[in-house]
Amino acid sequence: MADMNALLEVRNLSVRLNQADVIRDVSFSVEAGKTVAVIGPNGSGKTTLFRALLGILPYEGEIIWHRRARFGYVPQQLEFDRAFPLTVRELFLLKRPRAGFWLPSESVSALIQNALNHVGAEHLVNRRVGHLSGGELQRVLIATALFEKPDVLFFDEPTAGIDIGGEVTVYKLIEHLAEELKLTVFLISHDLAVVSRYVDQVLCINQRLLCSGAPEKVLTAEQLRALYGSEAAVYRHEHEEEEGRRGHHGQPL
């Protein structure tokens, strides 16, 4: 089973929060440079899985990174005090060594502009982080997550609706960046159409790992019904041709 190219191996991972199992006995492995989508209904443990992989949460079982990996993380909903007078520029500068924060050099300013250019947010550089809209904040967070050249990017529910200049969606951007920077990308998504188009591997989670593999193998009507219960209809509506009756088995959530 041991994969020579594996970047990450997870064995029998369980996470308990407030005496309840959020994730139970999950095992999988991921190769370097792949884009992996984690799917599952609300409250199924997707974000918890991310946080365990990032080392933020205590867990049981094993999480083995085969190479030293630098993480970039774009959380789903960032709650922070909007009155905190941090500017977009300063958010980048916080990642620099001390002197670089107080007296940034010209070259760093250029790097920041460049990073913001990538996500079509160059005009936001002097805005306060607390004054950004949801979409703007997400773009800025992507840019900051990529600023220190991570090897692995974790992205919790990219907003599919964000246009980054013209037709380029957040997913196109991620695909492009993953290729250019040779990133391994983990993303949590509800948009199965996107998942099937952009990712190499899918992990279906509902407390336990229900499926894992390439999207064309995993995203079958049967699998989805087991994962989402009746919600699977959404996906079928868009992509499956027939597969008539709606399944009544599987727990509705």
Binding site: L54, I56, P75, F80, P85, T87, E90, L94, F101
Partner: protein, 251 residues
């Protein structure tokens, strides 16, 4: 020096909405002071001991029951104030409450300055870490920052500054010295860096002006410093809408 140290810490106290915690810490030092006075050792160490104990308590509560923090902090610390008064001797206690800077001897002054420098230095070294956690502890943790350890250090620095305040402007007013400069600066600044610079300037202005006024009108220096600080804060509130207006015009 102490005002500068307190002011710098205050940036994060205000930004993390922990004003109540800072205030409560100044109350909780009282039982320590009372005990120290009863048993005849330096109130500074009595206060510091109790404060460190309290800080560890807050940390524990915060980790297990984050929602309870405000309530528990409020209840425990008013209770601490009451206990402090009950077991205390009045004269020494009053001095700790409102400070006795005019009676301060050379050695105390020197140790207060050294303590202030220590706080200033450690806060400056950890500034970016504290700022990252204030913005998002989640992202900070994903970058490998130990949020738990940083928060503990932050609270310990807060405790130390309150204990030092005991000898100078008094514990009751120390909370004000921590919060007022940063709150004032936030009204006047557009960036975190300018807020920091303005905080330090306001802290210095509060103290210098406060002492000058106290001397002039023969008032207690501690409370005068705080009243001056509050007045400057009020002025900064008035200045705020102007700043925002200007900001919009710039777009």
């Amino acid at each position: 020096m102490i005002a500068l140290a307190a002011g710098l810490l205050g940036i994060f106290v205000v930004s993390r909405r922990m004003s109540l915690v800072a205030d409560a810490l100044s109350h909780v030092s009282l039982p320590g002071v009372s005990l120290a006075l009863r048993f005849g050792f330096d109130p500074f160490f009595g206060a510091l001991g109790v404060l460190i104990f309290a800080v560890l308590g807050i940390e524990g509560i915060q980790r297990r029951r984050p929602a309870l923090r405000d309530t528990l902090v409020g209840v425990t610390f008013t209770a601490a104030l009451a206990v402090g008064i009950l077991i205390g001797t009045d004269e020494g206690l009053l001095e700790s409450l409102f400070g006795s800077i005019e009676k301060m001897d050379r050695a105390t002054a020197l140790s207060a300055i050294l303590g202030g420098l220590l706080i200033l230095g450690l806060t400056a070294v950890n500034f970016q870490r504290f700022a990252k956690i204030t913005f998002s502890s989640e992202i900070a943790a994903s970058e490998g920052i130990s949020v738990k350890r940083s928060n503990l250090l932050f609270l310990l620095l807060l405790a130390l500054s309150v204990a030092i305040g005991l000898k100078t402007i008094g514990v009751l007013l120390m909370g004000a010295l921590i919060i007022l400069p940063a709150a004032t600066a936030r009204n006047l600044s557009r960036t975190l860096r300018s807020m920091t610079v303005v905080t330090l300037m306001v802290a210095a202005a509060d103290v210098l002006l406060g002492f000058r006024v106290a001397e002039q009108f023969n008032l207690l220096p501690g409370p005068t410093v705080v009243v001056i600080g509050a007045l400057i804060f009020l002025v900064s509130l008035l200045a705020r809408p102007v700043e925002q207006h200007f900001h919009h015009a710039g777009h």
